[in-house]
Structures are given as structure tokens and as C-alpha cells.
């Protein structure tokens, strides 16, 4: 396993409260940046409510801002949020699945730029994000779906890890454990 460099999280609008509780689980000295895309309307103020119980700062980045470990980057309204190695890249490509910010866009960019060094967490409930999460998995990223229903529906490969809200904490802890166990030559 490569050391973790990035955690990407995607969630449909209905999962906003679940996202808030998962953000509260993140340790205050997280060694990687967290990049979060949440379906939203143009007027939702999200950064403040999502940051209420989160030990890390939750920011809506400007284009080309650097990704700093220990911060949560929330996709601003009206833009796709992509990652480009060490920085964010905003995009005004057309909405996908009727959404901008989109979840597929974020996962796809994480797959391209970080591959096996990225971990992806998708909150189930929307078709957006499923293809992107599979792309990230295909590039060696560690991925999991949170929610009652398998996000892929019938016919998707069953290898993707399924979590409940209660087991996300353990998954996050295992992610954090991997880089520490890595003995660098």
C-alpha cells in the first residue's frame, strides 16, 4: 500500500447531516488534506455548519489554492472541485447528473492525480459519484461506500467496501494506520 496522500469524500445533499458527523470523527492532526464535494444549491451556506463539530478548518477554496494537510476543502457552489496534485482546481464544466459541484468529477480527478495514494468515501443515495469511485478504485485507491444500499445497484462488482455510519470511524482509523506502518527505506 502506498502512503495515503489525500482523502476525498462525496455526498448527495440528503447526506449532509451524516457528513457533518463523519467530519467530527476526523482527528485534529490529520496528516492529509480532505477534499469534500457535497451536492448543493447556489445559496446554501455549508462551510460553517459542516465545520461546527469538525476539529479541522472547513474552507471553500479559491481556484489553484494549495492543499494543506489537516484542512477540509469544500466544493464551492456552482463549481466542480478537482484536485491537481498539490492544489485544487475549480472548473465551470457543465453540471453532470444535474449537479455542480459533482461527485464523479472530484473522484475522477483524485484517481488521475493521486491514484493509489487517495482514499475515497462516497455517501450512497445518488447516481453521481458511483462511476468516479469505481475509477478511483481501478487506479488502486482505497474506497468505501457509506449507506444502507449498495451504491452501484445490481450488476456492479461487489468488491467495494460497504460501511454504516457507525463503522466509518474504524475505516478512517485503518486508513491513517497504513502510512504509519510503512517503513521507509
Amino acid at each position: 500500500m502506498s502512503p495515503l496522500g489525500l482523502l476525498v469524500v462525496g455526498a448527495p445533499r440528503a447526506a449532509a447531516a451524516d457528513v457533518e458527523s463523519v467530519l467530527a470523527l476526523l482527528p485534529p492532526h490529520l496528516a492529509v488534506p480532505v477534499v469534500l464535494a457535497l451536492h448543493r444549491g447556489p445559496l446554501d451556506a455549508l462551510a460553517a455548519p459542516l465545520g461546527r463539530r469538525c476539529a479541522l478548518p472547513v474552507v471553500e477554496p479559491d481556484d489553484k489554492d494549495l492543499l494543506v494537510p489537516g484542512a477540509v476543502y469544500l466544493a464551492p457552489a456552482g463549481y466542480h472541485l478537482l484536485v491537481d496534485r498539490g492544489s485544487v482546481a475549480l472548473s465551470v464544466e457543465p453540471p453532470e447528473h444535474g449537479q455542480r459541484p459533482g461527485l464523479d468529477a472530484l473522484f475522477e480527478s483524485a484517481a488521475d492525480s493521486h491514484g493509489p495514494r487517495a482514499a475515497g468515501l462516497l455517501f450512497a443515495g445518488h447516481e453521481d459519484g458511483v462511476a468516479g469511485l469505481h475509477a478511483l478504485q481501478a487506479r488502486g485507491g482505497r474506497v468505501a461506500v457509506v449507506g444502507p444500499h449498495p451504491a452501484g445497484g445490481e450488476g456492479e462488482d461487489g468488491e467495494m467496501e460497504q460501511l454504516t455510519l457507525g463503522s466509518v470511524g474504524g475505516w478512517l482509523a485503518r486508513l491513517a494506520y497504513v502510512p504509519r506502518s510503512k517503513v521507509l527505506p
Binding site: E60, D62, D63, D65, L82, A89, S109, A111, R139
Partner: protein, 278 residues
């Protein structure tokens, strides 16, 4: 983990590099300084739309066919979808920039990266309503001749009720429908607006400054560039902007870490409108 996915990714990356190299050498369009994640996504979309299997196949087509190149450039561009698509910007421009422009005898405005012209026409409508049209010269540029040709026609998809609503939120003083005549599902903008805009082909990545301007509007255009080209273009914009002129960026674009950041002041409470003060 290096599975077939990782190997496929390496091959795809190689094919993309070859495609971009080919386009640069054959057509002089250097796409290698584009924002990589967005470029990859747009290219993959283009591949699906063209029903091609690989970037090598796309390369074979694009190298031999100028129309295929134009189609590719079109897919890569992301232009504002409607008139006044961001009402807040036009409202702030009206409130904070227009009063200053009124005090100047003549005003040159440059809309850099106009795409198919939606924001250009919105700006023209605004300047006309504010009584500045007589002493304004509005230049609009884009790197793509295809998009410019669309913009020059002055024909847009018929504005919706929401577009009309956003026009009012932007401080519109009449009705949006006063500015066009309907033709089926299309809107033909007033010839008066269309004919006084100077549409010109200009590639921000390679072409130099072509005039000195009092206002430069360059919104969400530089999102498609990587950091190096983005900073380079900001140098060009700085050279093209008169002292005390205004630079209008997109809602989430910043001047931080650009070479001339210190020469600008941000207009407080107004999104991303900057004034050159040095």
C-alpha cells in the same frame, strides 16, 4: 497496488501527451499548459462523444482535419450558459465600477475569453442601460475562431424566465426581452448591441497585450489554465490594464501568488473586482 488500472492509466497519460504534442506542432494550439484534471475530463468526454476508442485514434483525426480540431477546442471551452448567468457580479459592477466609469471621458473594456458571448452581451446591455455605451468601446476576445463566430452572430438560445429574473437581480432597468427579438427557440440580439462590440481572435496563452484598457473582465477563463500559465496571463492582463483600471475575475478566482498581486486593491464587499493602484 499496480493492476491493469494503473498500467491503463500510464498508457492513457502517454497517449494524451502525444495528442497534445501533435496539436501544438500541427496547429500551434498549445494545450499542454491547461489545467490537467479538467483537460483530462474534457478529453475523455470528447472521446465518448466522438465514439472513439483511444486518444491515439483522436490524434489521427485531429492532425489531419481542422474541423476536428475546432470540435475539440469547443469541447474544451466552458462558456457561460446564459445572459447574466451570475447576477451578483453584474449587480456589483453596476454599483461600484459604473460610477467611476462615468467620470472618465472614454472607456475601453476588454472581455477576455468571451466564448460564445453571453457575458459580453450582458455587459453591453448593462453599459447601455447606464448611459455609457456612447463612450465605451467593448472588445471581446477568444482563442477559438469557432466560438467567436457564434458570438458574432448575436443569436442565443431563447432566454428563460429564470434568465429574465437574474437580469432583474443584476439591477436590470428594463425587461430582458427588450434586447432581443424572438425567432422560434432563438433570440436575435439587437443589432445595435452586436455591431458595436469588437470581436477579435486573441489567444491569452500566446498573444501579447493589444491595447490599454480601463476595465478587463476575465471571469472563470483562467480556471482552464495551469498555475504557470495562469500567472503568466495575469502578467499580460496587468500590462493591459491602465492605472486605476478595474480587473474583474470569477467568484472563486484570486490574485494571491500572482506576480502583480501587490499592485491591486480589492473592492470591499464586491466579490472579485480588483482595482489597479500601482
Amino acid at each position: 497496488m499496480t493492476g491493469p488500472g494503473a498500467r491503463g492509466a500510464e498508457l492513457e497519460s502517454l497517449e494524451v501527451d502525444l495528442l497534445l504534442e501533435g496539436v501544438a506542432r500541427q496547429w500551434g494550439f498549445d494545450l499542454r499548459s491547461r489545467s490537467r484534471p479538467q483537460l483530462l475530463r474534457r478529453l475523455r468526454r470528447h472521446l465518448r462523444e466522438e465514439r472513439l476508442d483511444s486518444f491515439s485514434a483522436l490524434q489521427a483525426r485531429v492532425l489531419h482535419d481542422a474541423e476536428a480540431l475546432d470540435a475539440l477546442l469547443r469541447t474544451l471551452s466552458c462558456t457561460a450558459p446564459a445572459l447574466f448567468s451570475e447576477a451578483a457580479f453584474f449587480r456589483d459592477f453596476r454599483a461600484r465600477v459604473v460610477p467611476v466609469l462615468r467620470t472618465w471621458p472614454s472607456v475601453r473594456v476588454w472581455h477576455a475569453g468571451c466564448g460564445t458571448g453571453e457575458d459580453t452581451y450582458a455587459l453591453a446591455i448593462l453599459l447601455q442601460e447606464e448611459g455609457l455605451w456612447g463612450r465605451c468601446r467593448l472588445y471581446a476576445s477568444d482563442a477559438s475562431e469557432g466560438l467567436l463566430a457564434d458570438a458574432r452572430t448575436g443569436v442565443l438560445p431563447l432566454p428563460t424566465q429564470e434568465d429574465a429574473q437574474r437580469y432583474l437581480e443584476a439591477g436590470g432597468k428594463a425587461a430582458l426581452s427588450d434586447y432581443y427579438t424572438r425567432d422560434g427557440n432563438w433570440a436575435l440580439l439587437q443589432p445595435k448591441l452586436r455591431d458595436s462590440i469588437f470581436f477579435t481572435q486573441h489567444n491569452l496563452a500566446t498573444d501579447g497585450s493589444f491595447n490599454e484598457f480601463h476595465v478587463i473582465v476575465c471571469r472563470d477563463t483562467l480556471l482552464t489554465f495551469n498555475r504557470a500559465l495562469h500567472d503568466h496571463v495575469h502578467g499580460r492582463l496587468f500590462e493591459s490594464l491602465a492605472r486605476f483600471g478595474f480587473l474583474c475575475l470569477g467568484r472563486k478566482e484570486s490574485l494571491t501568488r500572482t506576480p502583480h498581486a501587490g499592485a491591486y486593491e480589492v473592492l470591499e464587499g464586491c466579490g472579485r473586482i480588483f482595482r489597479r493602484v500601482a
